[in-house]
Subunit: 312 residues, 2 copies
């Protein structure tokens, strides 16, 4: 089960109605924050999400409306008593930016591991205390280079599901009952002098959960395969009307219908639009531009939540 | 006349009830912002102050809760169409910090003049477009080095008032009527081959308006003479109870009663407390600690306003 909350859904500047870009994932109590625009902390405070258990912060790019809240949040996480290292992921160059911003964070109680995008899957395993980077794990994070006026990346989060336990196979392979559970969780076991592999008890593969987050960018082709079959795609819709397409191209953003077309081509289950230009007072007014192309679409609102579960 | 609005009154981290440290002065439509904690833009948006006419930004120090909102605000000011240079004043080191933060402000339409504290009065004259640094002027800004865990300065703003026009003196000195107005406004005039000085028409000196802003600091002695006879003193009261004095010393802050004692000794007209620790849920509960020492004290609230006028 993966819980998601949109913390901010505005683009450009914060308003009383919309904080700037941010979303929070919660998997088994471990939190992953995506972007940290101004107002993120207040939104977290209203939603009572807590601060201490943010194990990973994924930054799409370092334009102010996506990162201004970061130094303040890092300070608050320190004040919450965190001592476990925290991972920050971002585009190439993010290390220098985050280290630059740290000048306004006087007090830190934990280390930062900063990882720059390099076209490879990052896997994380859950421990009681933290999400740890490892060869394989329950959570996989993929990144994709986007096309914006600063280096910018999209994120796809996969909650991987172990294959079904196959009793027949386990019995046939004479695997001792004592280690069924460990093998099912994906680890090899040396038991009474013999090594057993997970494949000796596991059956067919099972679909996990896929959550994708795409902002700020032109609607480049690569996005479609990257977000393919997501359970939910959070995608920027900076401009509502099709008439604003030229403005979107100029500022390297998308219109509602461009986001909807990606959702349709990628066969995602649900699309949630975000990052609305402040020039657009009521994004709901333009939702038909998206709905005509991809019906299962919503206008994202601050503190809108979604729970994604494994299919049976 | 000087209008003041508190934009944020919290310390440490922003909450739904209190944005972080910021106050805005408005003199003849020219705006001076003091500090720019997270949430400042939203507070300005709610108060409908506008962004374009912020001519000066005074930063007390670069701890996140006083400066996190700056890069976002600089971007919003650019988007508002400002082309006039903007002055930033701050403690020694502020140049490097602001230039560091500019990495997350991709688009600027105006120049920044950054001035570091150097124990001298900065005078500004009003033009139609901007507040310009000059030898003398309607607005004087003084700064004082405080005692905090980062270089930090207090601000005293004086709205200077020209002396009263003295008709008797003007007639006695045979000053032509045509130039009375110019001389009264403080400029010398060469009229029909003769130079006239303001002193030839001006009478007694008149008190201007003094507004002081003091946060974050231990209650050092120098503050008293620096804020002396302010019409209003905005002062930090991070901790309410006297019992928290040791905590205040450790974190280089003040309690309500320490702030009140400064107000009393300095004979200010009014004290407004700000920068409340988030540990203190309701600062009003502790106001008696200040009131017992200095009765004309208020708990600052976001968007509390005050208009200061010249005395007759």
């Amino acid at each position: 089960m993966l819980d998601m909350i949109l913390l901010g859904t505005g683009g450009g500047m914060p308003t009383p109605e919309r904080n700037l870009s941010a979303a929070l994932l919660n998997y088994k109590g471990h939190k992953i924050l995506i972007d940290c625009g101004e107002g993120t902390q207040v939104s977290m405070k209203i939603a009572r999400t807590g601060f201490k258990n943010i194990d990973i912060i994924c930054i799409t790019h370092w334009h102010g409306d996506h990162i201004v809240g970061l130094p303040g949040l890092l300070a608050t996480i320190a004040n919450s008593g965190r001592i476990e290292p925290l991972t920050i992921i971002g585009p190439v160059g993010i290390k220098e930016v985050v280290n630059g911003l740290r000048i306004i964070v006087p007090y830190m109680t934990y280390e930062l591991n900063i990882i720059e995008h390099r076209n490879e899957t990052l896997n994380f395993t859950c421990t009681n205390e933290n999400l740890l980077l490892s060869d394989k794990g329950e959570i996989s994070i993929n990144t994709l280079e986007l096309e914006h006026s600063a280096p910018c990346i999209a994120y796809a989060f996969n909650i991987n599901r172990t294959p079904k336990f196959n009793l027949e196979k386990a019995l046939k392979n004479q695997v001792p009952k004592d280690i069924w559970n460990i093998l099912q969780n994906g680890s090899s076991v040396n038991f009474q002098g013999k090594v057993y592999e997970p494949s000796e008890v596991l059956g067919e593969e099972r679909e996990g959960i896929k959550f994708s987050y795409v902002t700020d960018t032109l609607p480049i082709d690569n996005i479609v395969s990257f977000v393919e079959k997501s359970d939910i795609l959070i995608c920027e819709g900076t401009y509502g009307k099709d008439d604003d397409k030229d403005k979107a191209i100029k500022n390297k953003h998308m219109t509602f219908s461009q986001a909807a077309l990606i959702a349709k081509k990628a066969q995602v289950k649900e699309l949630m639009l975000t990052h609305f230009s402040t020039a657009m007072e009521n994004p709901h007014q333009f939702i038909h531009f998206a709905k005509d192309i991809f019906p299962n679409v919503q206008i994202g609102e601050d503190r809108m939540t979604k729970t994604l579960t494994f299919e049976k």
